[in-house]
């Protein structure tokens, strides 16, 4: 049979973001695949070199749309390390709250979006509605639903509004009661099982070969490698949580690990709310002067945190001026989203390709950055 070239994305319900995969198929089997990134390439890294340290705040959340806060956090951590600033205690806890809420939102969405490539849109709608409740909270706390621009070098931008923490508890309580329904609808569903059980494999040797982190790594190697545990930032060393692992490499196992992480995050949010100091400053200035003239001492620092997809880091270089000299982004989806597709998508069926994107944890702008 003649080999046919097929385009998956950038416009496709199963595609995550503006990303494209060129597939050379024989029948419905993929013989060769070429990832085609760049649709979201704005030159984030270069743009950052032309903006004030504070101004970059408006740009960096766009490097990962569903989970923007990780960008703010690694940026802030890097700048703080270079400037030698100590973040106020309360800010650490607020940051953890934001990061875990973001993780919950993105995991819920990841869980529901499997409905796209499998044709079960109920899951997608449920997930979007559930996530919106968290976005409401973000709107109340930060002033925006998606691009929060809230975690800033030096702390967080504003204190917590009155009664906010109770509303967070209400939302996560309600979410906790819903998760079993998701499990029933998605993870126990025979159709989904037929599609992702023993399929879309990410074997341990591929993890080591490509440098996959996050759920992909934890679910196939059994290694509890989570930066929140192994290299705690903020106040993750003061909350109790487990790092779920597994030792099978199919997509269903990855989804199960994701749900178990969801429960852990809910637990972290509850602990953060219980332990967060009531009083205290929420930020300190980065440097003397106004934000137009904040300078960061010369130096180079790599800061990394655990995103929902794995290790997410910024390498920040400052030459002492009011703008960064260079920032390089380590996107967590780069290994599997770019290299993985090129090398390991072949052999699967056409309709597995979007499930591949979905269950591997791929966020295309962080590949493009």
């Amino acid at each position: 049979m003649k080999e046919v070239k097929l385009f998956l994305g950038p416009q496709h319900p199963g595609m995550h973001g503006n990303y494209s995969v060129h597939m050379y198929v024989d029948g419905d089997i993929i013989n060769k695949s070429r990832p085609t990134p760049g649709f979201l390439h704005r030159g984030f890294e270069k743009l950052m070199e032309r903006r004030h340290w504070m101004g970059n705040l408006a740009l960096i959340p766009r490097i990962c749309v569903p989970e923007p806060d990780i960008n703010e956090m690694v940026y802030a951590m890097g700048v703080e390390a270079l400037a030698g600033i100590e973040v106020p205690e309360k800010a650490h806890w607020i940051r953890m709250l934001v990061l875990e809420m973001a993780r919950i939102a993105v995991h819920v969405m990841g869980l529901g979006f499997i409905g796209g490539p499998t044709g079960m849109y109920t899951a997608t709608y449920w997930a979007i509605a559930q996530r919106d409740l968290i976005l409401d909270l973000f709107e109340e706390l930060t002033g925006a639903r998606i691009y929060h621009m809230y975690i800033v070098p030096g702390g967080v931008r504003k204190d917590i509004p009155e009664g906010f923490l109770q509303r967070v508890i209400d939302v996560i309580d309600e979410l906790e009661t819903k998760i079993p329904e998701y499990e029933e609808l998605i993870l126990k569903h025979p159709v989904i099982h037929a599609r992702i059980k023993d399929n879309i494999m990410l074997p341990a040797e591929v993890v080591w070969e490509l440098g996959v982190t996050g759920i992909g790594m934890r679910s196939s190697t059994g290694k509890a490698n989570d930066l929140r545990k192994v290299k705690p930032y903020a106040r993750y060393d003061q909350v109790e949580f487990e790092v779920p692992t597994a030792d099978y490499s199919d997509a269903l196992t990855r989804m199960n690990v994701k749900v178990r992480e969801l429960y852990q995050s809910i637990g972290i949010v509850r602990q953060v709310i219980a332990k967060m100091p009531v009083e205290g400053a929420v930020n300190v200035p980065v440097a003397a002067g106004n934000a137009l003239r904040w300078t960061v001492p010369a130096g180079m620092v790599y800061s990394a945190i655990e995103s929902s997809r794995g290790e997410y880091g910024y390498l920040i270089v400052s030459d002492g001026r009011e703008m960064p000299y260079r920032i390089a982004v380590r996107g967590a989806s780069y290994p599997q989203g770019l290299l993985g597709i090129e090398k390991y998508l072949k052999g699967y069926r056409i309709d597995d390709a979007s499930l591949w994107m979905d269950t591997m944890g791929v966020c295309s702008p962080e590949i493009d950055r």
Binding site: H52, A129, D136, E139, E140, G143, H189, G289
Partner: protein, 607 residues
């Protein structure tokens, strides 16, 4: 998770029939539009009453979405620009950093998040407080103390402790490098100061140079508009700081002290290089400058940069006028004066001292010998105060007293006569100069001080700078503010004190100076010597009667055309106190402007 396979599975779906649906009807959305949260970052609102037009929002904007546009018909107010920000929502990222840095607190965001239009141009607009849809929706995101992006507190200038009054040592210590850098980092570069400064100094530019640590560049900026940087870095009236954008919510930038930092911390070779960079060969003509005060020095310096030979005529033995004989040593040390005048001498200006125009040489002669003449003779005489007893020999005037004190400190004169108990009449900066100089002389002579002060104005409206009042009182001046002088009480030929009475009003109904008093509220301030510092006046002995009749005067000042050129006498220019002011920076500005005017005039007649 294992899959569930049961024949009842399809039935489970029925339970969702009685659940509230996850989706919402469009009708509900239209009937009950959702209001955004209190912090929502929607479209901008800008209170035009508060907005300074400073453009800080535009400079911080990470997406270049804000443009400052001139607004026609906006009332021109000092300290405000007639520009307002316009937003391009094709670019805006709704980050609200502009709100957090707004120095006037005029900018905020609304809860409006919907704008639908076929006309793309409506996405570019200049908001006022009614927002994009002109219907005054509720405020959304506002700046608060946590999200502040300005540095509102000034880095304090250290003063010598109060023991400073025992000597004439300079009292202001000056910024350290570290503090100067931190202070200069507060500037938002709006340039409102430049508009307000009489000399339109490039203030944001030289502050930026300090921030970059480039002293030569900073010096170059200073000398573009002001050749008396040492003097103005110490005793300028700093109108710039009065309008500083930072002053609206916090403390104004210490512009004057940063200027002083530049001149004090630039090495001599860089200093000379920057100051003399534009001085050229004197090939264009010859100009006489009458009076070597700030306006004369400024005019002379800029004439040298325009290629003229300049002779400055000075009545006294040393050039400098008010900066040599007026400002007190503890504010303006001799080295600073010498440095500024030294640069002007290095620029090739010739000083002809001990020569009074009108006495030793006539204006006519100057006219014959030079291509043009600049008059900058200043307010050289004290304004008399004719209250009973004013002719007593122990009544002294500010100008000669301050002059003699400076000469005494130069070992060129004896110490002025100072009694143990003195009173100063006046409430301006000069009155405080006299009072604080008296304290120092009394400390030298008697090892104790006793200086009282009486001024018409009450404390809140004293014409002096607030620092003068605070520092003066700290040094021991006993102020009686809101009390006007009625009589110098003399007994047996000796002054016993100054009788003062409560001031009811200073100006009459027509707004003229005409103080009225309450004679029932009066007392005598104990003193044996009275100093009068109620203002200065000009002397026009060099103008003959014909000239006086042809020159228009207004309240003792000459009325001039553009660049200080006098009507009927195109070769004659004037500036400084006799035209405008009185203050030093206005004199500097006039001198510069006249230099340009003289150049234009001489070029025009050569054609």
């Amino acid at each position: 998770m294992n899959k569930e396979k049961s024949m009842f599975s399809p039935i489970k779906a029925w339970k969702y029939l009685v659940r509230r649906p996850v989706t919402v009807l469009m009708k509900d959305i239209f009937d009950n539009p959702r209001e955004a949260s209190d912090r929502y970052r929607g479209f901008h609102q800008n209170d035009w009453e508060k907005c300074l037009g400073c453009g800080t929002c535009s400079r911080i904007c990470p997406t270049n979405a804000i443009e400052m546009l001139p607004v026609e018909g906006l009332e021109k107010k000092e300290g405000y620009k007639s520009e307002r920000p316009a937003f391009d929502y094709g670019r805006c990222s709704f980050c609200a950093i502009c709100v957090d840095i707004c120095p006037s607190d005029s900018l905020n965001m609304s809860k409006e998040y919907l704008h639908l239009s076929k006309d793309a141009d409506t996405f570019y607009f200049m908001p006022d407080s009614t927002g994009i849809h002109k219907d005054s929706r509720a405020h959304g995101y506002l700046r608060d103390g946590d999200s502040e992006l300005l540095d509102l507190e000034r880095y304090a200038m250290e003063l010598e402790p109060v023991d400073r009054k025992k000597s004439f040592m300079e009292i202001v210590k000056g910024y350290s490098m570290e503090k100067a850098l931190a202070e200069s980092a507060r500037c938002v570069e709006c340039g409102i100061c430049t508009e307000t400064c009489p000399a339109h100094m490039n203030i944001p530019e030289y502050i930026r140079s300090v921030w970059k640590g480039d002293m030569k560049e900073a010096m170059s900026w200073l000398y573009k508009t002001n050749p008396l940087a040492n003097v103005c870095g110490r005793i300028c009236t700093h109108k710039c700081e009065g309008v500083c954008a930072l002053g609206h919510r916090g403390e104004a930038i210490a512009i004057r002290w940063l200027k002083r930092f530049i001149v004090d911390n630039t090495s001599e070779d860089l200093y000379d290089e920057a100051a003399l960079e534009f001085v050229i060969e004197p090939v264009n003509g010859k100009v006489a400058v009458v009076g070597s005060g700030p306006s004369g020095l400024s005019c002379a310096y800029y004439l040298r940069t325009l290629g003229y030979e300049v002779d400055v005529y000075e009545e006294k033995a040393l050039p400098g006028g008010v900066i040599r004989y007026g400002g007190p040593e503890y504010r303006l040390p001799e080295e600073s004066v010498l440095k500024d005048i030294g640069i002007i001498e290095k620029a090739g200006v010739k000083f002809i001292v001990n020569t009074k125009v009108g006495r030793d040489v006539s204006l006519d002669k100057l006219r014959d010998e030079y291509d043009a003449v600049f008059l900058g003779t200043g307010f050289s005489l004290s304004r008399e105060l004719k209250i009973p007893g004013y002719e007593h020999e122990d009544v002294a005037y500010a100008i000669p007293f301050l002059g003699q004190t400076r000469d005494y400190l130069r070992n060129l004169a004896k110490m002025p006569e100072v009694h143990e108990k003195t009173v100063v009449i006046g409430g301006g900066n000069v009155a405080f100069d006299v009072g604080r100089t008296l304290i120092r002389l009394q400390q030298t002579k008697y090892n104790k001080d006793f200086v009282s002060m009486a001024a018409l104005e009450h404390r809140g409206i004293l014409p002096c700078d607030i620092e003068e009042l605070e520092e003066g009182e700290e040094e021991g001046i006993k102020g009686h503010f809101g009390y006007g002088p009625a009589e110098i009480v003399i007994k047996d030929g000796k002054i016993q004190g100054l009788k003062v009475q409560k001031v009811i009003s200073i100006f009459d109904e027509e707004g003229r100076f005409n103080p009225s008093y309450d004679p029932t509220d009066s007392f005598v301030i104990e003193a044996t010597q009275v100093f009068i510092a109620t203002g200065q006046r000009p002397e026009y002995a060099y103008l003959d009667e014909e000239m006086l009749s042809k020159i228009t005067m207004e309240r003792g000042q000459l009325k001039t055309g553009a660049h200080g050129q006098l009507e009927n006498y195109p070769w004659l220019f004037a500036g400084g106190d006799i035209v405008q002011g009185p203050d030093i920076i206005t004199g500097v500005a006039n001198g510069h402007s006249s230099a340009e005017g003289i150049d234009a005039y001489l070029r025009s007649i050569k054609k």
